[in-house]
Subunit: 315 residues, 2 copies
C-alpha cells in the first residue's frame, strides 16, 4: 500500500474531550501517547488551547486549555518519533498572548479550526502562528453546509498562506463516500498547485467515517484523523485502530492501539462516557445538521426517532 | 436520486435468525412485515427453507425451515405491494421435495446461497426452482475469498441461467469501498450483456456495510440488502433504516423503519441478543476470515484483541 507522505493524526484528546469536558486521567494520556508512538502515529493532538477568559477551568479539564507545561508534565521528555499538535478555534483562543515561539515549545503543529464564514480570521491566526515557527493546518468545519463556490473561494485564499494542509471536516457526519471523493478532488485541484495537502476529519453519524477516510486517502489526502475507539463528539470519529489496521505494515502498527482499546477505551465507555453511532445521530447526519439534538436525545435516552426525524426535517 | 429498478430486500429474519437461532416472536414478524410494506421495501426474506433431515426443529425456530403455511399463518392475506423471498443454501435444503409450484405458494423469489466451489450445484437448484415458476437469485458467499478468475467463471455460468441477479455477498465484512466498486464493475461486465442484475449483501465488520452498499448502488447494483438495525450474524449488516434514509422520498419511506427500531429492535438488543460492530469483528474482517472466532470472543467477552489479532494473522 502506498503510504508516502501520509500523516495519521490522533485527535482522541481533542474530539474525545468534547464528550468528557476534557477531564482525562493523566495515566490515560500517557498510555495514549505511548500507544500512538508505538503505532507509528505521526501527530498526537493534545486538545485545544482555548481562552481562559471565555471558558472556566472549573467547567473543563486542562486539555481544553492545553499549555506547553501541561504537555511536558504528562509526557516527560518529548519523543522525537511523534509530533505534537494543538487545536485553536477561531474566536475562542487568545492566540496572540498564549502561544510561545516554537523554539520554546514542545508543540509542532497548530490546527486552526474555522467555519467557512470566518476564513479571514483563520488566515490571520495562521499567519501569526506560522510567524512563530509552527506548522499549521486549516480545518474547515461543517463542510457539508458549504457550497462549492464558498469552498473554492476559501481554498484559493488558503493556498496563498503558509498552511501545510487544509482539512475537510465533516462535523455533521453528513458526507457519503462519493461526496468525500468529490470534496477531496476539489480540494486537490486548488491546493496541489500551491504545494498544500488535503486532510480528512470524518464523523460517524452515518457509519461512513472510516470509509470516507479511506476514500480521501485513495484520492491523495495525506492528513488522516482518527481517534481511539472512535471517541469523539456524538457519533464519534474514524476509529484510529481501524485506520491503523488498514495501514498496518512497515510504518504503522495496529497492536498498540488494540491494547489501548482493551485497557482504556472500553472501560472508559463502560464507565458511562457516551459516544458512537446510534439512530439519532444517523438522523442528524442524514439531515445535515449539528448533532446537538441527537446528543440531547442520547443523554435522555429518547428513542422516539420518528419525532426526531420530523423535527429535523422541518429545521 | 435515481432509484429506477432498485429492489430493497429486507433480510432481517434470515441473517438476523443467525443470531437468535430463528426464534422470532410472531408479533415481531408481523410488525416487521407491516413496516417493510409501509417503507416501500420490495422483498422481505422469510428466513431459510433448510432441510429438516439435517437440522432439528428443537434447535431452531420455524424461520430456519420456513414453509408456505408458516408465512401465511403470520401475515394472513398476502399484501400485493411487497414480494416475499426465502433463502436456500446449497447442500442444506431438500429443494426437490420441499418447494411447491409458485402458483400454490405465497413466495415469489428463492435466493440460492452458495460458495464459489458449489456453483454447479447452485445452478441445478436455480434451474429446478425456476422451472417451478419462481424468480431466483444466486448469492455467492465469502466473495472476498475468491479470485477474479473464479468469480468471472462463476458469473459466465450464471449468465446462462434464469437467475434475475447475482449477489456480491461479503460474508466476512472484508471489503472496502474500492473493492466493492471493483466487484460491482466485474459483475456488471459479465452479467449485464445477459440481462442479469447485480446485488449487494454487505457485512459491517469494518463499518463499511452501508458505504459498500451505496457504492454498489451508484455503479448500478439493483438488489440492495438491508436488515432492521443491522441485525445479522456477527457485526451485522447494512442497516435497512440507513438505506431507506438514503433512498427516502417518493417510493421509499424511512418512518416505518424508525418506529420498528424503537419499538422492536432496541428492546431485542437490550434483551441480550447480540450483533453489531466490535473490535473482534473488525479483526476478522481485516484478516478476511469467517467471523466465528469473533462470535466466540464476543460471547465470552474476551477483549484480548492483540491475542486475537495474532491468532488470526497466523491462520
Amino acid at each position: 500500500m502506498n503510504i508516502d507522505g501520509i500523516k495519521v493524526v490522533d485527535a482522541t484528546l481533542r474530539d474525545g474531550g468534547l464528550v468528557n469536558d476534557f477531564f482525562f486521567d493523566d495515566d490515560f494520556v500517557r498510555a495514549l501517547y505511548k500507544a500512538n508512538i508505538e503505532a507509528g502515529v505521526d501527530y498526537m493532538e493534545f486538545g485545544y488551547r482555548a481562552s481562559k477568559k471565555q471558558f472556566s477551568t472549573d467547567d473543563f479539564g486542562k486539555w481544553k486549555f492545553t499549555s506547553d507545561e501541561d504537555v511536558l508534565k504528562v509526557i516527560g521528555e518529548k519523543d522525537p518519533r511523534m509530533k505534537l499538535s494543538i487545536m485553536v478555534d477561531v474566536g475562542r483562543t487568545d492566540y496572540l498572548e498564549d502561544i510561545a515561539p516554537r523554539s520554546q515549545s514542545p508543540i509542532d503543529l497548530f490546527r486552526v479550526a474555522t467555519y467557512i464564514e470566518t476564513i479571514p480570521e483563520a488566515i490571520e491566526m495562521i499567519n501569526h502562528i506560522s510567524s512563530l515557527g509552527y506548522e499549521t493546518t486549516c480545518n474547515i468545519m461543517a463542510i457539508s453546509k458549504c457550497t462549492d463556490e464558498q469552498i473554492a473561494d476559501a481554498l484559493y485564499k488558503l493556498a496563498n498562506t503558509s498552511v501545510s494542509a487544509v482539512y475537510i471536516v465533516d462535523s455533521y457526519g453528513a458526507l457519503y463516500p462519493k461526496q468525500a471523493r468529490k470534496l477531496t478532488r476539489l480540494y486537490h485541484k486548488i491546493l496541489s498547485p500551491a504545494g498544500k495537502e488535503v486532510g480528512m476529519h470524518a464523523h460517524n453519524n452515518q457509519q461512513c467515517a472510516f470509509a470516507n477516510t479511506l476514500e480521501a486517502k485513495d484520492l491523495g489526502a495525506k492528513w488522516l484523523d482518527g481517534t481511539a475507539f472512535g471517541m469523539g463528539r456524538g457519533a464519534g470519529n474514524c476509529h484510529s485502530e481501524a485506520l491503523l489496521a488498514y495501514l498496518n505494515g512497515k510504518k504503522y502498527h495496529l497492536d498498540p492501539l488494540l491494547k489501548l482499546v482493551e485497557e482504556w477505551m472500553i472501560p472508559m465507555k463502560d464507565s458511562g462516557i457516551e459516544w458512537g453511532y446510534n439512530t439519532s445521530y444517523m438522523l442528524t447526519g442524514l439531515t445535515n445538521q449539528h448533532p446537538r439534538t441527537a446528543i440531547a436525545a442520547t443523554k435522555t435516552k429518547d428513542m422516539n426517532y420518528t419525532e426526531q426525524f420530523k423535527f429535523l426535517s422541518y429545521q
